[in-house]
């Protein structure tokens, strides 16, 4: 089968690999019909995540058709059209039993600090991902769900990470009616977080980024006020001024490891890999939120230390809520919102690349060319 493979920082290619096989009785093999490139895939692509091995296939956002099931699988049949949450999870460990699917303890031998994720390095379990024609899906009775008949692939694939993660980011903010919410990052997750903040009763939503075309989408798609941080000498001072010198009630970091805005931080972290991530957005969140406020972090950071301004967080009495999103827990409510017309995830899809041209897709997404917001990948076998 054809699969995207990692060759080193900023380099990928499509290779012929063996079709995955059933390795556990509750495995399924899914033929991928649509995959997506996530902003967090770029952290891998840029060589920022430790233990990213040459030959690894990325891709944790995908939907497809069940092609084979293991002997113990009961909930799926060959031919079912399924969406697969980016979390690999067992459904029964201490953490899964409490709803923390993204923190599953039974699927990632390489680390205890993070659960299992498809196509996201060996630090998250060494599972090849869905930017390929076929993918192995462990715990088929637990993770995947049937795609509703009324939903297209392009909406469904955004339910495997980007939309639930954005919604989860707003949830982690513990928003109450009338809160002022500032969202750092106008990528797919930030846009969905901004949109979700309204669902939770925010009184004001401000999106911060430096890419004008994405800020335009934040205004039209997410109904938010926008701030281009390059237009302000000090974004924190601007946020204070615009909130009557109080600060936002809630700040959401939807940027993660490769934040721009401070050359030293970005180069030491994102380029020279001397930190687990460039915490510029997180530090702006800490300083831009009001005392006693809440910070939500679902932007992805690596496991190495980062230069976070923790003293300010402590002195301000902030609550910091963070996690990878437990995707499947979000689905029932999000499906309701989509049916009711409150959310239409595929509105942010801008580009579609055949699997054979995935190297170009990564380059365009990484370099932010051509107004790219969300690129999809379509395998040829689909």
């Amino acid at each position: 089968m054809k699969a995207m493979t990692y060759r080193g920082p900023y380099r990928i290619r499509v290779e012929e690999k063996d079709r995955p096989t059933i390795e556990h009785p509750n495995d399924a093999i899914v033929r991928v019909t649509t995959a997506a490139i996530c902003g967090s895939d770029l952290h891998l692509y840029h060589g920022l995540m430790p233990d990213t091995r040459v030959g690894h296939t990325f891709g944790h956002e995908f939907v497809g058709i069940v092609d084979e099931v293991g002997p113990s699988v009961q909930s799926l049949q060959v031919g079912n059209r399924v969406m697969v949450p980016f979390n690999v999870f067992c459904g029964s460990c201490f953490f899964c039993a409490r709803g923390l699917y993204s923190n599953c303890h039974n699927v990632n031998p390489n680390a205890t600090a993070v659960g299992g994720i498809y196509g996201y390095s060996h630090t998250t379990g060494g599972y090849d991902g869905g930017q390929a024609e076929y993918v192995r899906v462990p715990f088929a009775d637990v993770g995947p769900s049937l795609v509703p008949d009324w939903m297209g692939d392009e909406d469904a694939v955004l339910l495997t990470d980007a939309l639930p993660t954005g919604y989860f980011g707003a949830q982690l903010g513990d928003i109450v009616e009338g809160d002022t919410v500032v969202v750092f990052g106008a990528g797919p997750v930030g846009l969905f977080a901004a949109k979700s903040a309204w669902l939770m009763g925010a009184g004001r939503v401000i999106v911060v980024d430096h890419l004008d075309y994405r800020l335009e989408l934040a205004r039209t798609f997410a109904h938010a006020e926008t701030v281009n941080f390059t237009h302000h000498r000090d974004i924190v001072v601007h946020l204070k001024r615009t909130t009557g010198h109080l600060g936002a009630d809630v700040a959401i970091d939807a940027v993660g490891a490769e934040a721009d805005g401070n050359l030293l931080m970005h180069v030491t972290a994102a380029k020279l890999k001397m930190q687990g991530g460039s915490p510029i957005a997180l530090n702006w969140a800490i300083d831009g939120v009001r005392k006693g406020g809440t910070i939500s972090v679902m932007g992805a950071y690596g496991p190495i230390f980062s230069a976070v301004k923790f003293g300010d967080a402590m002195n301000k009495g902030l609550t910091i809520n963070a996690n990878q999103c437990p995707v499947k827990r979000q689905w029932p409510r999000l499906l309701e919102h989509i049916r009711n017309g409150h959310l239409r995830p595929s509105d942010i899809v801008t580009h579609r690349f055949p699997l054979d041209e995935i190297a170009e897709g990564y380059h365009v997404f990484s370099a932010k060319l051509d107004g790219v917001v969300k690129p999809l990948v379509v395998p040829s076998a689909a």
Binding site: R11, D141, G201, H210, T230, L246
Partner: protein, 208 residues
Amino acid sequence: MIEKRDPADLTSEERAELGTRYTYTPHKPPLAETSDELRARIPGWGADLDPADRPAVPKMRFDPGATGARWEFPERQPELRPRERSVEHAFVTPVFGTGQPLKGVSGVVRRLAYRRFSEARAAHWLLLVAADRVDVAEGRVTSALRGRPDRLVAETGVRGEAGHEPVSSRAGRVDVRHQWIDPVIVAGPMAVAGVLAYRVVRRARSAR
């Protein structure tokens, strides 16, 4: 309900003193729109106002029957070859990925990182990062030996520049300031390896 205060109703003096008038008093600065106005303007506004409607609230909710799992401890996936694991785990987890098993010099370094250092130690991660770079060099050699050498330019996807507005897309962007480093990161290790190889060969020849 949100207190309404239309900014248009404020005098310039009031606007200038917003911080003093509100933040330095018990009151919160007013918002421009009321809840009713927001509900009318934004599809779904307030649909999840009640935290009970938010699916991951409370964060931890004991409900082992909710997942579809019919086991308390999953059947174990056969470990067909020794699988590296974090020393913070009691054993190799019941299910694991099997792609790209440890091999070569990078495998030795990765094995050391996993066996010797916990996730709490910087050495664990720094060794893994170092092994990643060794792996790239090994991958380049083994791929060439297998007759499928790396196509160094094509694999960067730089051909995607064509037709995707490479100039206008970059105009005025803050991140363009450090994009010059990208080629250094991509080509730098190759240049260093080339120089080292040249020196080794030259030293071997002069020693003969």
